[in-house]
């Protein structure tokens, strides 16, 4: 028996965990349900129909150098897929953006006009970091992520505006990125990363050790750069024992409204039912809802092939 097996035998919970989500700033949440954070079992699911799901993707790579300045080709896309009565998903909204990222002020006089003439959509970045390639690429990554978020926000606003009377929209990520979306009565944000902590003490412990098929009390948070208030709660899809504290753990965001508190049990049971089918082979299938995975796969399939591959293959 190993020493950790001895610990488990003595009452510790078995685990199999490595790195966790990167820490992000988070504000203390205000409980809006219960006097202290409680654990609630979820009822039998009632799945609304129809439901639309929104997700996005990004892809970028360095395609050219001007000296040490790295010129990047980037592609971001987002789509909304609507689920019909048979459970089949159909794309209803789709947007994409292919653009270049370059430190225009650091490009040579010969190459800059060529780039500006060839690429109609250029996202300029600060040239100060050109000499530090790793930090420069972090800047590129942030730029691409921001472009993707912008695209997703635009699409979410368009999709919520077009939602049917009983139709719901589930977004991958923060609901609070757009005030309009965050105030919509039938929009939900599903967050898989838990770098930002809104709870502490006993409440945090209860949230992180939430049993599968249970949710926490609802609390209010201000999220996104818009600082829009939304209501949120944690929901465990799969047992964490034997894995890690964040395994199968979702944080749900919905409109900041009393109605959300009343709906939280039903919404939780619905999202719990969405854990099947498994979103494999995605690595975070324990937290990724299959329809959101499907939207991502759809976008990947429609994205232009990677520049690296294109450079070696003839164009059909």
């Amino acid at each position: 028996m190993t020493w950790w097996q001895a610990l488990v035998a003595a009452g510790a919970v078995p685990a199999n965990a490595g790195r966790s989500d990167e820490a992000e700033p988070g504000e203390r949440a205000d409980l809006v349900e219960d006097s202290e954070l409680q654990v609630h079992p979820i009822p039998e699911p009632q799945i609304p129909n129809p439901v639309s799901f929104l997700n996005g993707m990004q892809r970028w790579s360095v395609v050219a150098y001007d000296g040490v300045a790295q010129i990047v080709s980037a592609y971001v896309a987002a789509a909304v897929c609507r689920r019909d009565k048979r459970g089949v998903l159909h794309a209803t909204f789709e947007r994409s953006r292919a653009f270049a990222i370059a430190p225009l002020d650091r490009l040579s006089p010969t190459l800059r006009p060529v780039l500006e003439q060839a690429v109609p959509d250029i996202e300029p970045v600060d040239g100060e970091l050109v000499g530090q390639p790793a930090r420069y690429l972090e800047q590129v990554e942030r730029t691409v992520r921001r472009a993707r978020a912008h695209l997703e926000r635009e699409l979410a606003e368009a999709a919520t505006a077009a939602l049917g009377a009983d139709e719901w929209l589930v977004l991958d990520g923060l609901l609070s990125r757009s005030p309009a979306v965050a105030r919509h009565p039938r929009a939900l944000g599903v967050i898989k990363s838990h770098g930002a902590q809104f709870l502490d003490g006993r409440g945090l412990e209860r949230a992180l050790t939430l049993p599968a098929g249970h949710r926490t009390s609802v609390f209010a948070v201000r999220g996104g750069h818009t600082r829009t208030e939304v209501y949120s709660w944690y929901l465990r899809l799969w047992p964490w024992e034997g894995n890690n504290l964040q395994y199968g753990l979702l944080r749900v965001e919905a409109r900041a409204d009393r109605e959300t508190i009343a709906r939280a049990p039903a919404l939780s049971s619905w999202l719990f039912a969405e854990r099947a089918p498994l979103a494999t082979p995605a690595t975070r299938w324990d937290r990724l809802l299959y329809p959101l995975h499907h939207v991502e796969e759809y976008l990947k399939a429609r994205a232009p092939r990677s520049p690296a591959a294109r450079s070696r293959l003839p164009v059909a």
Binding site: R86, V88, E274, T280
Partner: protein, 654 residues
């Protein structure tokens, strides 16, 4: 409104490094809700691929469905081990219908290139004609198209045609049909195809007839009686341009029973029996095909030489046996007398010192005697001891006529004899162009019995090989049927230009001959419904599944229910019936008075003579020949046509 004239793509060709498109095969996907399946014909257009001019036709040979599930375990996990929960998942997994198709045709045909990654369409009627290369013989100035059935996959209803030049010669010929027994597929298919041939055999190719051997029950006994067809069957006949009526001209031949007067067939219902012609042969007809009667151990040069001696020197001639007796051998009875005379002569006159006669050893003579005389006993009714023959109209075959020879109840040896003689005579007459038609389809069921892949080299097998390999030049076309294609002689099967498959047994499909078929095609073959066939034809580069209508004729099983066979009638009544059939004026009582107290053999001889002569006044002629010993037909020296020798069976393929 959707404009239906604009074809809607149903799929798209995909190619990966592992599964690339080649000039002969490609892969495509369709939505999960699709009308196509195994056997469907599709068209690939080059739109969007830079190859707009190229069109490829293919037939679906394999289908796959799979989802994005990485491992079955994930489905178990998702359902928490409860299958009922698996269907409760709110989202349907992304899944694919992925098909493999074999190329039927590419246009342009040169340069032959891999299939472009274009859109896939369901083939319409014109596409089916193009895909199967039927346009060359369907739309030519002298069309030679014979409808064989309807291509009904993917919701279509397109006629499929065979090329008469490749079905009935001279380019290729013969048809072989395999399938499980008891499903009425093989016989039905041949009956329909014969109806189609009679309706569509091109005038410029001359006249055509069919000879069918009925070897099982009443299978082919009611080809002139209409079937109960459904509206759907009638619609299919109309679509194919084939009349949904039974054969207009059918001649049915059946040997007599041992009593020499009742017919040995199941078509003896009073309403139908008059249409059945007796089939009886005498010594001359049998000796010409004596080889059939000899088994493998018998075949030696000595027996052959003695049979040749009998044929050339004895039969039909005045012959001195060397012991003081002159013979004129016309019948089996005459032949028996000759043998007795020879054996007695050797025994008595030579005092047993000699065991040879005219260089022929007594043992050889005894063997030949036994074989020849044995047939008259075993096949009494078909072979007459001393009567004349009643035969097919060898010089007067009629156009679009089916000649059915019912040998279902004949001794196997007699079946072989009938089979060998009829086919040989057809061959002879076609060679001389004296048959009356330019092409004859010979339908032989049970090739597993007559032309097995292993077993002794019988005369019948040699003859079937001969037809298979040389028949197409003569217009002698073999339509063979069997249950196990793998167990039929490979040259008989291999020479059939058109191959048809009904529902097959899985064990049979596991044999090497079916290795070219995909597992999906084999599975479809193993579950084919009645009325559906897979066809291979020289113009089709891949097997095609078709559906044919129920044949327009009464099935044997239904025939005996609607027309129950009559019981054998007494000798006198049978004689009356045969004479009345020839002449309605004949009164039964007159005949019964005439034959009262007469030897049955005399009556049979007289009856045979009447049948042969067919006089204007039947009763008068019958009375005349009954009055004295009836002179057999062969009293006059008969012209003897030697049957050309058959090539021995060898391992040479051609």
């Amino acid at each position: 409104m959707i404009d239906k004239a604009i074809p809607v793509p149903i799929g798209r060709v995909v190619a990966t490094e592992l599964k690339p498109a080649t000039p002969h095969q490609f892969h495509f996907w369709t939505p999960t809700d699709t009308t196509i399946g195994i056997g469907a014909i599709v068209k690939v257009g080059g739109s969007g691929t830079g190859e707009e001019g190229r069109v490829v036709y293919g037939v679906v040979t394999e289908g796959f469905a799979y989802s994005d599930l990485a491992t079955p375990l994930h489905d178990v996990v998702g359902a928490e081990g409860d299958p009922t929960r698996a269907v409760e998942a709110p989202t349907a997994r992304q899944q694919i219908r992925y098909w493999t198709a074999a190329v039927l045709r590419q246009t342009p045909e040169e340069p032959l290139q891999p299939v472009p990654l274009g859109q896939v369409y369901v083939a319409d009627d014109a596409d089916v004609a193009q895909a199967l290369r039927m346009d060359t013989y369907l739309y030519s100035a002298t069309p030679t198209a014979i409808p064989v059935g309807l291509y009904t996959s993917a919701g279509r209803d397109a006629p499929v045609y065979l090329d008469a030049d490749f079905l009935l010669g001279p380019e290729a010929a013969h048809l072989n049909i395999s399938g499980m027994s008891g499903l009425a597929t093989k016989t039905s298919a041949v009956e329909f195809l014969l109806a189609s041939i009679f309706a569509h055999f091109p005038a410029h190719k001359g006249r055509v007839a069919a000879v069918c051997f009925n070897v099982k029950g009443p299978d082919l006994c009611f080809l002139d009686q209409p079937a109960d067809l459904s509206d759907e069957d009638r619609r299919r006949y109309e679509r194919l341009g084939v009349p949904s009526t039974p054969f207009e001209r059918v001649q049915l031949y059946a040997p007599l029973k041992a009593d020499g007067v009742n017919l040995n067939t199941l078509r003896t219902h009073p309403d139908l029996v008059d249409d059945v012609e007796p089939l009886t042969w005498g010594l001359q007809e049998v000796v010409d095909y004596a080889e059939v009667l000899l088994n493998r151990d018998d075949i030696d040069a000595k027996a052959d030489a003695f049979i040749d001696f009998l044929r050339d020197r004895v039969l039909g001639r005045t012959f001195d046996d060397g012991f003081g007796t002159t013979h004129r051998v016309q019948t089996f009875a005459d032949l028996d007398r000759l043998f007795r005379s020879i054996f007695d002569g050797l025994e008595v006159i030579s005092g047993g010192r000699s065991d040879t006669w005219r260089t022929h050893h007594i043992a050889t003579m005894r063997k030949v005697r036994n074989r020849l005389l044995n047939i008259s006993t075993r096949c009494k009714g078909l072979v007459t001891d001393d009567g004349p023959s009643s035969d097919l109209p060898w010089q007067d075959f009629k156009d679009r006529t089916v000649y059915v020879i019912d040998i279902a109840n004949v001794d196997p040896l007699g079946q072989d004899l009938v089979f060998a003689r009829v086919v040989s005579k057809l061959r002879e007459q076609l060679e001389r162009r004296e048959l009356g038609v330019d092409a004859v389809v010979v339908f032989v069921d049970e090739l597993n019995k007559y032309a097995p892949g292993d077993g002794p080299d019988t005369y019948v097998k040699k003859m079937l090989l001969d037809i298979s390999e040389r028949g197409r030049y003569l217009g002698l076309v073999l339509f063979g049927a069997e249950q196990f294609r793998s167990q039929v002689h490979r040259r008989v099967v291999g020479n059939a230009g058109t191959q048809v498959f009904g529902r097959m047994d899985m064990d049979e499909l596991a044999t090497p001959g079916y290795q070219v078929l995909t597992p999906a095609t084999k599975n479809k073959l193993a579950t084919l419904p009645i009325g559906e066939l897979m066809v291979r034809h020289p113009h089709f580069t891949q097997p095609i599944f078709i559906r044919f209508p129920k044949p327009p004729v009464l099935r044997g099983r239904d025939g005996v229910e609607r027309f129950p066979p009559a019981a054998d009638v007494p000798f006198e009544d049978a004689v009356v019936r045969q004479l009345v059939r020839l002449d309605r004026r004949v009164r039964p009582n007159q005949v019964k008075d005439l034959i009262a107290d007469r030897e049955p053999d005399d009556v049979r001889r007289a009856l045979a003579a009447v049948r042969r002569i067919r006089p204007d006044d039947v009763l008068a002629y019958f009375r005349k020949v009954l009055g004295a010993r009836v002179t057999p037909e062969g009293a006059l020296p008969r012209e003897h046509h030697t049957v050309p020798p058959l090539n021995p069976i060898s391992d040479e393929p051609y």
